[in-house]
Structure formats: C-alpha cells, structure tokens
C-alpha cells in the first residue's frame, strides 16, 4: 500500500514535473498573455535569442538527467521492496560505474560551461561597449536609479552630456531603432548609476539585468532586433515594456517601475524635440 502510494507520488512528480514545463497554457494560469511565448515574455533584443537558446540547451540536458535519476528512483522504490526481495545484493559499489558517472556528467557540464562563455563576454565584457579600436562607444543616455524611480538623462540635441540642452525623461526610456551599415541593429550604450542604494535595471523583454551600484558607473548596452520587435508589438496594444527593479531597495521596491519604448529614428527625433520643448520652453 505504502509502496504503491510512494511510487505513484514519485512518478507523479516525474510526469507533472516534465509536463508543467511543456504545457505553457497551464490550467492554473489560463491562457498566457499575448506577449508571452512559452513560459517567458517574448524577447526582441539582439542577445535575447542566445540567452534563450542556452537556456534550452541546459533544459534538454537537465530533462534527460531528471528522467534518468527520478526514473531510477521511481523504479527502485517500486521494485526493491523488502516484501518481494529475500536478501539485498551485497555490494559496496563499482569502480567502473563510478568512473562512468563521473566522466560523463563532467564532460556534459564542461560543454555547458564553455558554451556560455562567448555570450557572456558579448554581454558584459568591457569590449562589448567599445569599437574595434578599443575606444568607448558614445553613450546614448544615462540611467539613474534612486528610491523608488528610474530617471533617464539624455544628452539632448547636441549629443553631448553636460551641456545645457540635456534633458531628463522620468519613468520612460525611449530608444531609437538604429541600424549600422550592414543593416544590423546598432548597440545603444548606457551609463548605469545609482544615487542611493543598490537597484537593478531589469527589462524582461530584453533579457537584461544589471545592478545599479552607488559609487560605480557601469557601461551597459542594449541592442534591439527590429524584426523581432515588430512581431512582439503586433501581438499587443501597449507599445512599451516593463522596466523593473530587481534588487531590494527598500520598502517601495515593489513599485519601482519604468517603461521602455522603441521608436523609429524620425519619431525618436520628434520625441527629443518634444521633451526639449517641454523642459526648456520655447528657447
């Protein structure tokens, strides 16, 4: 009785465990929102696809290991009951098996580890925000985090910070859709700063997250995949996306939100004009 129950419970965990990953229109949630694929929000950044496929790569290996180990547990719990076995096998182990299950996982884990490196370097290394000669790419805007809001400081029309046409956009980060000569999305470089405590700049749809650390200025970059973005935008009415603070920053942490909106170049320039007029009057 207990053997049957335990085996069923373990088997249920195995089956339910796998099925809940596959079936994303899960009965608990109802249909997932339009801007979702599978369990996660759709992405439209140039790096997002790499991150997602690395996730899937690990997911496949994890699923295989999960089935083998959990399957073994289910099988053994059912099969090797004291009621059915007269005497247990007297064995202290097997050197060959130990070698097998050391070497194979070691190889797989190394594959996983090394397959991550180039993507990580592309996201975080200093070279990611430099041109080929090693000069820093121009900064698109400064991201300032403070309790409990996001402020985005733009260089204004002259493209230079510290001049008196700099303007600030509270809450909303507006990005232009820019392409380089090859037609690829251009990297937009930002300076990420915090005025007070730790915060974390998190845009789920861009698969990006980085802590804003007081006393430290970090160069980060985002790249927008325009085709991908159009597909995502076509599924929804809202034209902007969530910016979320992902590092505890005090009692108001939960409401420290912002939005990110991407505009074609001409509309972006119009927005800059509008913001300039709003903050400096007609001068």
């Amino acid at each position: 009785m207990m053997r049957l129950l335990t085996t069923i419970m373990l088997l249920a965990l195995l089956v339910f465990g796998l099925w809940s990953w596959v079936d994303y229109d899960y009965w608990l949630l109802g249909p997932s929102p339009a801007h979702y694929t599978w369990w996660w929000p759709e992405e439209f950044s140039t790096i997002g696809q790499d991150i997602d496929s690395l996730f899937y790569l690990i997911a496949v290996m994890v699923a295989v290991m999960f089935v083998i180990t959990m399957g073994g547990l289910v099988l053994f719990t059912w099969k090797y009951s004291a009621k059915r076995q007269d005497k247990a096998v007297f064995s202290h182990g097997s050197h060959k098996l130990e070698l097998l299950w050391t070497a194979v996982p070691a190889g797989l884990l190394l594959i996983i580890a090394f397959s991550q490196m180039s993507t990580f370097a592309e996201i975080q290394f200093a070279s990611a925000t430099q041109d080929e000669e090693g000069n820093d790419l121009p900064v698109h805007c400064e991201i300032w985090a403070s309790q409990f809001d996001w402020r985005f400081r733009y260089p204004g029309k002259d493209g230079r910070f510290g001049t008196n046409d700099d303007f600030e956009s509270p809450y909303e980060l507006v990005l232009p859709l820019q392409e380089n000569e090859e037609g690829d999305a251009k990297k937009l470089v930002f300076l990420l700063r915090s005025r007070d405590v730790l915060h974390s700049f998190f845009v789920p749809h861009l698969r990006f997250k980085r802590d804003a650390v007081p006393g430290m200025t970090q160069r980060i970059w985002l790249g927008i995949d325009d085709k991908q973005m159009e597909e995502v935008l076509a599924t929804r009415e809202e034209k902007s996306f969530d910016i979320i603070c992902a590092e505890l920053c005090g009692w108001g942490h939960y409401k420290m939100s912002g939005r990110v909106r991407v505009l074609p170049q001409d509309q972006y320039e119009a927005w800059v004009d509008e913001m300039t007029a709003q903050q400096f009057g007609n001068s």
């Binding site: 899960y26 405590v197 990006f208």
Partner: protein
Amino acid sequence: MVDIHAPHGSEARPGMGEPGTTREHHDHHELGFIQKYIFSVDHKVIGIQFMITGLIFFALGGLFAMAIRYQLAWPWEKMPVIGSVLFPNTGQAITPEFYTMLFTMHGTIMIFFVIIPLLTGAFGNYLIPLMIGAPDMAFPKLNMFGYWTMIPAIFCVFMAFIQPGGGPAAGWTAYPPLSTVTSAAPGSLSAQTWWLMALTWVGVSSMMGAVNYVTTIVKMRAPGMTMFRMPLTIWALFIAALLQLFALPVLTAASAMQICDRMLGTGFFTPTNLVVNQFNPETAGAAAGGQPLLWQHLFWFYSHPAVYIMVVPAMGLASDILSVHARKPVFGYKPMVYSMASIAGLGFIVWGHHMFASGMNPALGMTFMVATIMIALPSAIKVFNWLGTLWGSRIHLTSPMLFALGFVAMFIIGGLSGIWMAATPVDIYIHDTYIVVAHFHYVVFGGSVFAIFAAIYHWFPKMFGRMMNETLGKLHFVGTFIFTNGVFYMMHQLGMAGLMRRTADPYDYETYAHLQPLNEFITISAFLLFAWQIFFVWNFFHSMFWGKRVGRNPWRAASIEWDTPSPPGHGNFDAPLRVYRGPYEYASPEVEEDFVAQSRDLTGKSE
C-alpha cells in the same frame, strides 16, 4: 578535556578496561536537575536543546512564510484574525515595510536559527560522540557554552523586532548601503544593528560547535574506528565543521565592519557623496569612499559555504538512513566521502555566482561560473550513488526511509535547477527571480528539512527510548511531499516569467499581471503544508512521553550508536567497545542475519 580513554579503554590497557570501572567514574556524583537538563555538559542533552530550540524557531519562520504567501496571493487585503492587531492603521493589511521585514526575518531565522542549529547543533552534538564511540565531546563545557551563546543571539533577534521602525528589512543578505545608511529604510535604524549582533552571536555559537566537532572526530574515535569506518553522517558533519571554521571568521569580520559603519562612522561600504533619502552620511561625520560590492564578496564568502553547511550534513544523514532502511551497504562509500569533500572545497570558490549581475568584473564571473557548474559533478555522483544504494536493496518504507527518499527526489530537482543559475548568460535573466527561490527551497526545504525529518524519525528512539508513531509519520510524509511540490515546483515557472523575489505586489506590472492565480495556488499549498506539520508536532511530543518503548536497536542498524541503551546514559557506552568494520555491513554473506554490527567481533573472541 574529558578522559579520552574512558570508557572504552585503550590499546595499552590489558583487557581493554573492565565494564563498570568507567561507569563508576561517571556515576559517583549524581547531578541535580539543573545541571542534568538545563546547564548540561552532556552532548546528548545539548543536542536535544538545540533540536527543541530549532523546531520552535521553525514554527516562527514558517509563520513568517505564511504571511509572505498571503500577501503574494492577495496583496494588500485584510489579514484575517491578526490583521487588526498588527496593522491597525492600514486597514488590517500588511504594510510594504512589514513585508520587507517578513522575508528578511524568514530567511534569517530559517538559516541561522533553524537549519544550521538543527543539522550541526542538534544532530552534530547528538550523533558525533555516539557514532564514533566517544563518551562525550572533547570540550563538554565549550559545547554547553555553544548552546548558551544562542540565547544572546535569540535575545538580539527579538530586540530587533521591537525597535522603532520595525524589524530589520534589508533582506537576509543585508546589502549596504540599504542596510548601513539609517535613512535608507525604517528597518535600517537600530533594528539592523541588533540583527548584526544576533548574527555574530550565532557565529560564535557555530564556531564553538565546529571546534568541538573537529577535535572530537579527529581525537576521540573508539579503537578500530578509522576515518574510513566512520558513518557518512560523521564525515558530513566533519566537513561541515571545517567549512564553518574557515568561512565563519569572514562573516564575523564583515558584520563587525557593518556594525562599525553603522555605529562608529567608518565607511567600509559607503561610497563618497552618497545621498539616501536626502541624508548624506558624510554630513553626519561618517567616513566614505567604501565599496558596496565589498560586503557582497565578504558576505557570500561565508554564506555560500553556509549553503553547503546546510546541505552536506543532510546528505550524510540521508545516506545513513537509506542504507539502514534499504538493508544494503551504501554504494560507493569512498566516492561519497570524496564528493562531499569536493563540494566543500569547490564551495569556497563559487561565492561570486551570487554576483553575476552585480557589476563585478565579468572575467571573475567566468571563473566563478566554471567552478559553480563543476560543483554539480560531485552532487550528481552523490545522486547516482544513492540510486546505486537502492538498486537491489530491500526497502522498508518506514517514516525515516520515506523522508530520505523524499530528500533524494527533492535534491535531484534542486540540484538540476542550479545549473541554469550557474550559467552566467542565463542567470542574467533569471537572477533574483523565483527560479532562484524555487531552487534554494528545493535544496534547503526539500533537501535539508526532509533529511532533518528523516533523522528525527530515525534517531528519536535513541534520543527518548520510545518510537514515534509510524502511521502518523507516514501521513506526515505524504502531505508534506505533495504540498512541498505544490508550493515550490511552480515557482520555477514564475521565475521563467521573470517574476522577481522580494516584491510585495508584482501584479501592477504588465509582465506579471497574469501570475496571480498561480500564486494563489502556491499560497493555498503553503497553508496546507504548514497546517500538515501538526501531525509531526503531535507525534513528536506525544511519542516523547507515551510512545512505544524500544530496546537498543529498533531499526537493526549496524553503526555503533545503537550499541548504547536507549536513551544512552551519561558517558554513552556501558561496555568496552571496539570497531571491526565499516558502518554499512547489511546483507553480508558472512552471517545469518541481514546485518553485522560495527562492534561485532566475528573471530569469536567476544561472541
């Protein structure tokens, strides 16, 4: 130090000492009640003291979790019953400050007052001398002191709750400047200082325990008990004690630095020109020029090994219990030892995986990633060896065995989900989301707590001389297993959706708006999980006084703690003891019975 030659005699003494001589040595002064049960130097009493204290705090930490779950399912809604007492000014709903305090103290209590004291404090104390054949710990008074330094820790934690501004609210990780600058949060007023002092006291307690465990295991093993004849529980506790010895000083130093930042005006973690909530610490005379990331490095240098302090002993306990109740030797004993040792060794060079998104040098992130992913290897070896132990065995589905099987199942899930987090690019997305919450709860709740339950059911007869009720134990397991998965499994999916931790009300975000039904499901499972523990509480306290009496070895286990009376008297072993073999000789072809006790002499000398 106690006489390490008593009571089992030494090699040099002819006849290995008469039984009775050492008993007299211990018995000629009867101890009063206070010395025997309160200020006791007996490792068994101290272990049980740790256990009861840990279980009481477990209930408290569980209550905090229930309040967190209530808020996540029904944010800002009236809290039934206690709402009017706790939140009279906010319409009986949780306040955001209170919510930050809740998850801060849930983590703090569960880690520092429940899991570590239960594993190392309770089982470390209780089992080490019994399983290696020693009459007591090497330093019994230090051991007693180790328990009693938990009292100032508990005092400090309770003081933290009643400070102006409410309890500490900077998370159990206490990242500065949120935790150091008083204007950053109401919880960063005096409450944070009390929190830091509590942590320091807990550290002192753990340190005294660790010194004792290492000394006892190295110096006081019974004759014949070589290192590689020790049960895996002892190996695990030994390795965990070494981890504490090497890592704890760093946490103690770090909390001293944070206390200095808060009280003496130093600026270890305060950058220059910091203005928090219109207050610049420099205008109040404090130094600046520090680095917030420094705290993260120091904190995780301890707190990552602490994760292994919380899971390695659980692995040891589960290995022993699996072997006893499956009536089969542990598969690959030495690989088990080596894998635990390498988990501990690697555990010191992976702390940076908590900081992949922190702005730390990304080249460091790479190295931390490789080390972290490789730590999955010894974990995998352990899982395979547990399965190897079960293969061809004769499983008795007793309550301890059920929880040990549950431990393996939970550890598989918790271990596998860790690989995503170790992979830096993937972690950029899932860092600080509910995938992380799911992962560490599978390891620490599904893993460590299941192993603790298994160990309590398994060693309860030794501790109190009475069995716990098996029917209630099985009932306890079934509900706990189902609801644990109900609570934690779907948190992976919440994390996939990007839902971040420590958020009082995520549903205003468009990205998360649809997640409320799933959170309601999790919350209901959590309430049921919490309520289900009544079967355990009843069983534990009822069996302590009215359980079925047992003899020395109710489970027919081979390790030597079962040679003692149940419960063992002062000085533990009532006959001279010699160890002839490893602790897992089940189903041995040498004898008729299905096990050979470690202390049984098969040459016929003492038969």
